[in-house]
Symmetry: D2
Subunit: 124 residues, 4 copies
């Protein structure tokens, strides 16, 4: 019998994605993890992160990590957003790093950097 914990933890993005999958499977949470539900949960958690900032001025917002309790709360909400994003990627088969790399490539063409008519990705 293979114990999940027998495998040393791999805290790369894909290793964490797999840890989350094992975590959900061990608790029989998979039936709840439709793409729709995970997209809703992601949006809810993004709202919880925003809640920390909703009444702050830009300056207060920039200093948010100087208070240890708030810093902990920020890290916790970042973790929740990333967790649901990765679980969404698992059930839809999306590769988040490939999706982002493709998006940056497109944006480099769409928004050329000033002074570089062709955009930085095309200069050579």
């Amino acid at each position: 019998m293979t114990e999940p914990s027998a495998v040393p933890d791999d805290n790369s993005l894909d290793g964490l994605r797999q840890r989350l999958s094992r975590f959900a499977a061990a608790r029989d949470w998979e039936p709840f993890h439709t793409p729709k539900n995970l997209a809703a949960a992601l949006s809810v958690e993004a709202g919880e992160l925003l809640e920390i900032f909703q009444w702050l001025t830009p300056d207060q917002s920039a200093a948010v990590m100087t208070d240890p309790d708030t810093a902990h709360r920020v890290r916790d909400e970042v973790a929740d957003v990333l967790a649901y994003l990765l679980q969404f990627c698992t059930v839809t088969g999306v590769d988040p790093l490939a999706a982002l790399a493709a998006k940056i490539d497109r944006n480099e063409l769409r928004f050329p950097a000033p002074g570089r008519p062709d955009g930085p990705r095309r200069s050579d």
Copy 2:
């Protein structure tokens, strides 16, 4: 003079985070990138991902990637969410992988897997 594009792209999570930082710096977008604004943008993009699913049944939701146009839209919104999450992490100094690993560790204690009173992280 160092060209950003002279460095071969590194499409790891941290490589993409750095590409996004260079992208924003080259366009003078940094003043807009307060933690508050990036948290708002993250929430907006999570809403755009949810919009794809809002009227779907669970079964339709599970089949969402079978339509190429919808699949493209899903990957695009995943990229946007991840982009703003990484940019938020840049300006706050949060390590997203460490934050998620710590959260999974806490959740393994908080929600022990059935049949393992101590939880899978403590069995050995």
Copy 3:
């Protein structure tokens, strides 16, 4: 045969709620209008309203209605949020005005106004 439009429009909150119900019924949209779907749609529209403001400074935010195109967009998103909120109330049977009145009553006790230890609702 009764025409919905034979009834003069009543643009009170409840009149608009009823117009929205007739609108959805005439298009057979009711099966999509589960409380869950309407809560998701409400959240998506609130995100679209927030999108208008995401990169604005507080001062720019305060001046948002001076530009006619942006003002139109703001009114349009307010309408969408209110539309989904009212449709949510229709399918759940929630009376939004009674819910808000009760909430304000509770908040007047929870956050007494400065200089009025008992709160303004209790003074008589």
Copy 4:
């Protein structure tokens, strides 16, 4: 001296909007109530409403008001969404009922009801 509570409460939409304004003014909360902050708070509260539904099946979602505690939570979140929407309307000068009436008028042209090529608003 005029007590706010000396005026009988008017729990119409506009009466509640005014109660919220007096409530914020009495607590010196007005500086926080920029359009941007209120749009963020609205989005956060819409997320809290969605949170109630995120793991529910469509059938469970339809039965959400049968549990008294959940029903209370739903009414409370509806109140929060409406409160921030009204406060947003106060600071931007948007008339929410007029905005929604105009939107329904537009949608009746945009989505004609089946069997009524001109749409129900134009039949006479």
